[in-house]
């Protein structure tokens, strides 16, 4: 739906992320900053399409947070969006902005990923609200995402506090109906000097902490009164306290029960909950991941059960919720006939056909290296058949981990850290500085494809364009790493496989820090690359299977066999991009480009 098609009062379908973006514009938000990360990415992408909000990708979440905080200090309504683990990166300014408070309304959107659909852990960021002593909203559908941006702004400005908007994958990536409101335009009031409020050195921070504690008391009172926390009376045998998407699953499992739905879930309305508890026979807490609500109630002396019946890991869904409710004796499960599940081979995500990373990982594997890895598409190289990545923890960790292994002489193999361009700019530079400063004998490969690919092709400081499409300066990786003190620096073409092997060998033999930078764009962004496909000549193939070891989705067994009954692979012409890695590594040279094949046929016929 384009803007022109949207009318006030109209009901349209929006994902939670789209609803946050639209809600931000409706609430008169001036500024938004983010670093991409599933499931949060589409919030900023959608904001970028709206007039009246300035938006930007920042190099990492900490910077994004600080920039949005600055905009708030300048009296602009501001938001900052990131995935759950991004908040760890931004935690430093977050914990202290809790003390400074805001000028223009400020909202941090944390999109958590229970079940780890696209993440390295499933931490429950509701903890951050309590940790930082800031209020938290937990929308349960797209309409609430849309409406509550303005609520967040009003709460932020009224109580002088940043607000945490906590989303989860099933809120961010589910579509639901949204009723559109009129857009507000709010003036930017400008920065004003207030040293005691904005300069957090001990003598100013101490009184600010007292202000935070008083603010928390006021927020507790607000939590008791706000309609964001609502009671839906039903049968009083069962009372359910819940929040976010868990509310939806629980409504489906127990449609007749009484509900206390927490929308403003920190600080909790403990009096309201205690009164609710007093009127129902049995109180259950239905929540995803940590027992955040449950522990809060138990500390307050409110009897309830929660994690006894519902898992503390993974995502909730209607079926698990129903099972938990049945275990708690709240319903009798209906045994329904179900079709038997078949066992089907897994289909893990893979590097794209023609991906420029493939050749590097195949070479690393053949060299018998230890590879410390990082976060991005290339993490997929850890999976079979490549299995050429041996650690992956968090953004930027590849370099630090290599440094650590090198410092204790912990590897007898050549040691390589592999990191993408966007990840290097996010948190790799300081790791490299550490390697140079402490004289680590490590080799760092920057897989530079000029885009943040895994999250769907977002621009970054080495792309040469901003989020709004304006041309801008491009980071020069070679000059950058040279300035950090690296002496062995090589740019190389990842499609020249034999060249890649030489570059890696030279680096492994070099004593000290070497940095190797690839020079080819992503297959998908900014535009999908295609090329002349290759084909395997079955009659010439000896069935060795080497071409299957590069993990290319275009190559699979053809169903034909050699005389020795070895499988002959075939290349899917519609998927092959002609990168020619398989042709280079084929020991019997039976893989040809189409032009070569035509020529061959001409000669033989």
């Amino acid at each position: 739906m384009t803007l022109q098609e949207m009318r006030v009062e109209e009901i349209i379908l929006l994902s939670g992320n789209e609803a946050i973006a639209q809600g931000a514009r409706a609430a008169g938000v001036h500024f938004a900053a983010a670093y991409p990360g599933t499931p949060s990415t589409e919030i900023l992408e959608n904001i970028a399409r709206l007039p009246g909000i300035k938006s930007q990708w920042s190099p990492n979440e900490k910077v994004a947070f600080e920039v949005a905080m600055g905009a708030s200090f300048a009296g602009a309504r501001s938001i900052c969006c990131m995935k759950h683990v991004g908040v760890n990166v931004a935690a430093d300014p977050l914990m202290t902005m809790a003390y400074t408070g805001v000028k223009g309304g400020f909202m941090l959107v944390s999109a958590d990923d229970p079940e780890m659909h696209s993440s390295q852990n499933e931490q429950d960021n509701r903890m951050y609200s309590k940790f930082a002593k800031i209020p938290m909203l937990e929308p349960a559908d797209s309409q609430e995402c849309y409406d509550w941006v303005e609520e967040a702004m009003l709460i932020s400005e009224r109580f002088d506090t940043p607000v945490l908007m906590r989303m989860t994958t099933r809120i961010s990536h589910s579509m639901g109906t949204v009723k559109i409101r009129e857009w507000k335009d709010i003036p930017v009031t400008g920065f004003e000097v207030d040293i005691a409020k904005y300069v957090m050195m001990p003598n100013f921070a101490k009184p600010r902490h007292q202000i935070v504690l008083k603010r928390l008391e006021a927020l507790r009172q607000f939590s008791e009164e706000t309609p964001l926390n609502r009671i839906e009376w039903g049968d009083k045998k069962v009372g359910v306290v819940t929040s976010g998407v868990s509310y939806q699953h629980a409504k489906e499992a127990l449609p007749g029960a009484s509900f206390l739905k927490l929308g403003f879930s920190y600080p909790m309305p403990l009096k309201k909950i205690a009164e609710f508890a007093g009127q129902v026979e049995q109180l259950v807490v239905v929540e995803e991941l940590e027992p955040f609500i449950e522990e809060g109630l138990k500390v307050a002396g409110i009897q309830c059960e929660g994690k006894k019946y519902f898992p503390i890991y993974g995502e909730l869904n209607p079926t698990l919720t129903e099972q938990g409710c049945a275990d708690a004796g709240l319903l009798t499960p209906v045994v329904e006939e179900m079709l038997e599940a078949a066992s089907v081979m897994p289909r893990p995500p893979v590097l794209c056909p023609g991906c420029s990373h493939r050749s590097v990982f195949y070479a690393l594997r053949r060299m018998g290296t230890h590879v410390t890895g990082d976060i991005g598409c290339y993490t997929l190289a850890a999976l079979p058949p490549l299995e050429a990545m041996h650690t992956c923890v968090c953004m930027g960790a590849s370099i630090g981990v290599s440094n650590g292994i090198a410092q204790v002489n912990g590897s007898k193999r050549p040691l390589f850290a592999v990191i993408g361009d966007s990840t290097f700019l996010h948190s790799g530079i300081t790791g490299l500085l550490d390697a140079v400063y402490n004289k680590s004998n490590v080799n760092i490969i920057i897989l530079d494809n000029r885009i943040t690919a895994m999250t769907g092709g977002q621009v970054h400081p080495a792309t040469g364009r901003t989020l709004s499409g304006v041309e801008t300066d491009q980071v020069n990786f070679i000059a950058l790493v040279k300035a950090l003190g690296v002496r062995h620096i090589v740019e190389f073409d990842p499609y020249d496989h034999n060249g890649v092997r030489k570059v890696l060998k030279d680096a492994a033999e070099y004593e000290g820090v070497s940095v190797l930078v690839t020079t080819r764009p992503c297959m998908l962004f900014p535009k999908k690359l295609t090329g002349e496909p290759y084909a395997i000549v079955a009659e010439e193939c000896n069935g060795c299977g080497v071409c299957l070891k590069i993990g290319c989705p275009a190559i699979s067994n053809s169903g034909k066999y050699t005389a020795k009954e070895l499988a002959i692979p075939a290349i899917d012409q519609s998927l092959c991009t002609g990168c020619d890695l398989c042709s280079i590594i084929c020991p019997v040279n039976c893989i040809y480009a189409k032009a070569e094949l035509d020529q061959k046929e001409e000669v033989t016929s």
Partner: protein
């Protein structure tokens, strides 16, 4: 499960096949017809050639965005093995539509896993109401290889009560303007198979 008035449609396939656009069109149609609608899927890593599933639910009031286990009224599968992977999510009396396409993942070329070549036979044994069509081939016959998606939507439309014109209206708005006529033809072709 409680709310029998909610219709559950599960659309499955492999990253890049167009599952998300298909579920978007179905959701729009259901909304236009006056329903509450929820649709849920997972973006990110899985889209790199991995398994993709989209839950579409509609009715007078929809709570959870996820279809309870085994409660899909309809499954539309863009690929054979994916049809088999998700078949147990179908109600025993539900409809399944399978695109007769085979996408073999690299993992099935090793020794540990095999592609289920008998997927269609297994589905035939399991599912009472199964429709298999080769949307890729029909698309080629129509003179444009990119119409498979709309052909499958045509087949899907037969399982729902919505007016065909409502589908046509939504398709018109969602496809590139130059391809509207071709897509409408593809939609009708899908309905006729």
């Amino acid at each position: 499960m409680s709310n029998n008035k909610t219709i559950n449609v599960l659309i499955v396939g492999v990253g890049g096949q167009g599952v998300l656009l298909a579920s978007q069109i179905l959701s729009d149609v259901a909304l236009q017809a006056g329903n509450d609608v929820k649709k849920s899927e997972v973006h990110g890593m899985s889209q790199r050639g991995g398994v993709v599933s989209s839950h579409v639910r509609f009715g007078p009031k929809v709570y959870s965005p996820l279809i309870p286990n085994g409660q899909a009224d309809v499954i539309l599968a863009f690929e054979r093995a994916e049809a088999l992977r998700w078949a147990h999510e179908l109600k025993p009396d539900g409809n399944m539509i399978v695109n007769d396409q085979k996408l073999i993942p690299p993992i099935a070329s090793g020794t540990q896993y095999q592609y289920p070549d008998d997927a269609l036979d297994q589905l035939t044994d399991k599912i009472k109401s199964l429709k298999v069509l080769n949307a890729g081939q029909i698309s080629e016959e129509l003179g444009n290889p990119r119409l498979a998606n709309t052909i499958l939507l045509g087949a899907l439309s037969l399982t729902q009560k919505f007016e065909a014109d409502l589908w046509r209206d939504v398709i018109k708005r969602r496809v590139p303007p130059k391809t509207i006529d071709l897509n409408l033809k593809a939609f009708d072709e899908g309905r006729s198979r």
